[in-house]
Symmetry: C2
Subunit: 488 residues, 2 copies
Amino acid sequence: LCWAGVCGGIPDPRQRESLIQQEASRQTGGTVLLTEAEQRLSALLHKLKQQEVEGPQFPPAMHFFKALPLIQRSPVFSLLQKMPKGAALHIHDFAIVGVDWLVKNVTYRPHCYICFTTTQSVRFLFSAKKPNSHPKCSPWVLLQTLRGKVDNTTNLDTSLMQNLTLFTDDPVAAYPSQDIVWSRFEETFMAVIGLVTHAPVFKDYFYEGLRQFYMDNVMYLELRALLPMTYELDGSMHDRAWSLKAYQDVARQFVTEHPDFLGARVIYTVHRGLNLSEAKAIVEEAMQLQKKFPEFMAGFDLVGREDRGRPLWYFREALSLPAELGVTLPYFFHAGETDWEGTDVDENILDALLFNTTRIGHGFALARHPLAKELSRKRGVAVEVCPISNQVLKLVSDLRNHPAAVLMSEGHPMVVSSDDPATFGATGLSYDFYEAFVGLGGMNAHLGTLKELAINSIRYSSLSPQLKDKALALWQRKWDKFISENSQ
Amino acid sequence: LCWAGVCGGIPDPRQRESLIQQEASRQTGGTVLLTEAEQRLSALLHKLKQQEVEGPQFPPAMHFFKALPLIQRSPVFSLLQKMPKGAALHIHDFAIVGVDWLVKNVTYRPHCYICFTTTQSVRFLFSAKKPNSHPKCSPWVLLQTLRGKVDNTTNLDTSLMQNLTLFTDDPVAAYPSQDIVWSRFEETFMAVIGLVTHAPVFKDYFYEGLRQFYMDNVMYLELRALLPMTYELDGSMHDRAWSLKAYQDVARQFVTEHPDFLGARVIYTVHRGLNLSEAKAIVEEAMQLQKKFPEFMAGFDLVGREDRGRPLWYFREALSLPAELGVTLPYFFHAGETDWEGTDVDENILDALLFNTTRIGHGFALARHPLAKELSRKRGVAVEVCPISNQVLKLVSDLRNHPAAVLMSEGHPMVVSSDDPATFGATGLSYDFYEAFVGLGGMNAHLGTLKELAINSIRYSSLSPQLKDKALALWQRKWDKFISENSQ
Ligand SMILES: [Zn+2]
Ligand SMILES: [Zn+2]
C-alpha cells in the first residue's frame, strides 16, 4: 500500500523532504555539486528571482518585446550576461548581429543602393554602377544620395532598422497571427540578404557576430548557414565553397585575436521548400562540402517554417544518401517547431531521430512524444531550446508554459540558444538564458541548472572529444573567475 | 548501436510505422479497441477535426469567450454534445446553471431584493420584509419595483447576467491580469450567493444543474459544495446538514424522474483562507458529515485561489486528523492550479498525493513534477483537467500548450471537467470535451480517446465498485445508441 512515502493520510515529514529532494535531483542541473562560493551565488540568484516573481510584472509571462526593458534592468539578467554560457548551438547566419550595426555601419558604406518594395519593405544592393531595377521595387537609389536629400537621417535609419527586425512596441497588434509573423519574418530576411551577401560585408558581418557573442560571454558557435553565393561590386559571384572558406578564415582570425574564444563550425542549411530531386542534389553537395571542410563544417539541416514546408519523411531518399554511400554527414534537424500535434510536421520529431540527428532544433513538440522523448534521452540527442524565438513566432505566449519546462524538470538533454537574436531584438544568448532560467525553470532552477546548461552546450556540440576537453577546460577557467567575482 | 529502430541514417519504413503505432498506443485511449461502427465515427471525427485545423480560426488557440460562437457551429462539438460523456467530477456548487436561468427564473420570484455595490456589482437577498442595508451597497430595492421603474427590463436583465459571469466580448481588455480575473471571479460568486442560498432556490438551482448536465449527456455528478447555511424568507437559517440533505433529496428526486441518470455525490469544500485551528474544526465537521451521509458525501477539499491561499502543508495537522483517528475522509484536493513552478503552492501536487488524495483537481503543474507524476500514475490518482477554466483564469492562452496535452500523450489517468461552467459562459461538459479533444489532443486524439475519457469519469469516480459496474453498464447502453445513431 505504501509507495515512495505515500501510505494513506499521514505523510512523514522526513519522507516528504526526501521526495522533494528526489524530484529536484531529476531536473537539469539537479545533481550538480556546487562549491560553497557557488552556493552563495545560487542563493543570491534565488533571492533576486524571488523578487522578480513577486514584482508587478513578470517578464517571462510577457511578450519579449514588452519584457525587454524590464529584463535589461533585471539583476538576474546582468549576472547571466557575465556568466560564461559556453556555446551557441542554434543560431542562423544572418540574424546574429544587431540591426543597428547593419544600418549604422554597412548601409553607410559606399555603393549601397536601396529600393522600396510594394510590400512596404526595402531591398539593398552594393554595386559599382546603378543596377537594373528589381521587380516589385522602386528604382534603385544610392543611400548616400537619399541621405543627402532627407531632412532627418536618424528617422531614415530608424525606419531602415524596422525593416530588418520583427521588433516593435506593439507586437500583439503588429502580429495577430502566426501566418503574419512568419511572413514578416521572411520579409526581414529578404531585406537583409542584399547587404550580407556582398562579399566584404559577408565576412565583416560574421566577424561582428562572433564579437557580439564573445562580448556576451559565449565562447563557441555552431552557425546554421545557407552559404549563399556572394557578390562583388562588379556583379561577379562567389560560390558556396567560397562562403564556407570565408567563414573559416574569419573564425580563425577572430580566434587569433581572441585566444579565449574557441571558434565556430557551420551547419549547412537549405530551405525546406525544395523538391526531392533538388534535395538529393543539395545533399550530394553537402557531402562534398563536408569532405572538403571536415574540420569546419559540422553537418546539414533544413530550415524554414516547418508548418508550411515539407516534412523530413518527404525527403527520406535524399536524407538516406549519405548512409547508403557510407559517407558521414551529421544532421542537426529542426524538428517539432509546431503547435499542431499529430500532423505530418509533428512526426518530424521521430523522423529526425530515425535519421540519426545529432541534436533536435527546437523540439517544441517533443514533450508530447513520449517514445521519441525516450529515444532522444537514451541516445543523448539534445534539444536546442530557443524560448524567445518560440514566443515571438507565436508557438507559446507565457514562457512558463513552454514545453521545455517539462523537459527541464526531467533533466532531458538540452541546450539553450537564441535562433535569430537580431530579428527578435536580442543579442547573444543572455536573453534566452534569462527566459530559460526565470521562466521555464521557475523557482526550481538554480545555479546548478545554469552550470549544466553551459556544460551541455559543449557536451552536445559537434566538437571532437579532444576539442570538447579543451573547451571545457577553457570554460571552467572562465566559470571559476565568474564565481569568484560574483559570490561575495 | 540500434535502439527502437534507430540505427544510423536509413530508417526502415516498417519500423517507423511500428514506432508511430507504439507511441500512439500510449496516449489516452490508445489501446481502446474500436468496433467497425466506432471506427467509421472516428474517421468522421478525424475528417471534421482536420477541417477545423485547416480553417481560418482555430478555436482552442483562441480565448474561449471568442471561440464560443465558433465552437457552437462546429460539427465536432455537436457530436460531442450528443456523446454520453459519463460523469462530471470537478464542478462547483454555484456555477453549474447558466446565469440566464438565475436572472430569468430566480430574480423574477417574489421578495427578491437587490443592492448595487460600490464595486459596480450587485447583491441579492430574498426577504419577507425590507432587509437592513448591506455595507458598501446601496439601499435594498425590490427587483419587482425596480423592473417597474426602468424602461427596458431586457437591458436590466442583461446587466444582471453580466454580474453573474465572467463572460464578455473582450476578455483581453476586461481581464488584463490573473489578479483582476480572479477578483472578478470572486465578485461573481458574491453576486450569486444571495440568490442560491435562499433555501427554496438552493434546491431548485441544484435540480436545474442536474437537468442541464443531464441534457448535455452527463449521467452522474460529483459536486464540490461549500454547503453554506441557507435562509428562509423570514431570515431563519438552516445548517450544513440541511444543505447536504437537500442535495441528497433533490438528486433522488431527479433520478426518480430520470431513471437513466445515476445521481450525484458531494465533496464538501471549504475556502483555503482559514487558519489551522479553523481547519481542524472544519475537518472534524467533515468527518461527522461523512459519517452521517456515507452514501451521499464523497469527501473533502479546499478551494479558492491556490496562488494566494495557504498550501496544503500548512494544514497538515488538520488533514492528518482522519488518519490519526482511523476515520475515513477521502480527499479530492485542488492542487497545482498554478504557473509558479517551485513555489510552496507548487508543492501542493506532492502533498495532495502524500495526503492520499483520491483525485487531483486541475493538476496543471503535474507535468513539471516527474516524481509526483509517477506517483499519481502508479496509484491511479486521476487528474481532473478543466481546460476552459485554466484558460479563462489565465494559466495558459493557447490550449494546445495546456500541460495536460503532455499527460494525454502519455495516457496519464485523467478526466475532463468544467469547474465553473456558468461563470465561463459554458454549460455541462461538452465545451471542455471539445477543447480537450481538438486542442489538447490534437490530430492524435480519436474516438478511443473520447471513449476512455468517458469511461475514466466512472472508473475514477468515488462510486462503490457495484455502482461503478451499474454506471458502466448504463453508460455502455447510451454509448452503443450514440454510435449506432452517428456512424452511418
Ligand atoms: Zn532555427
Ligand atoms: Zn475547481
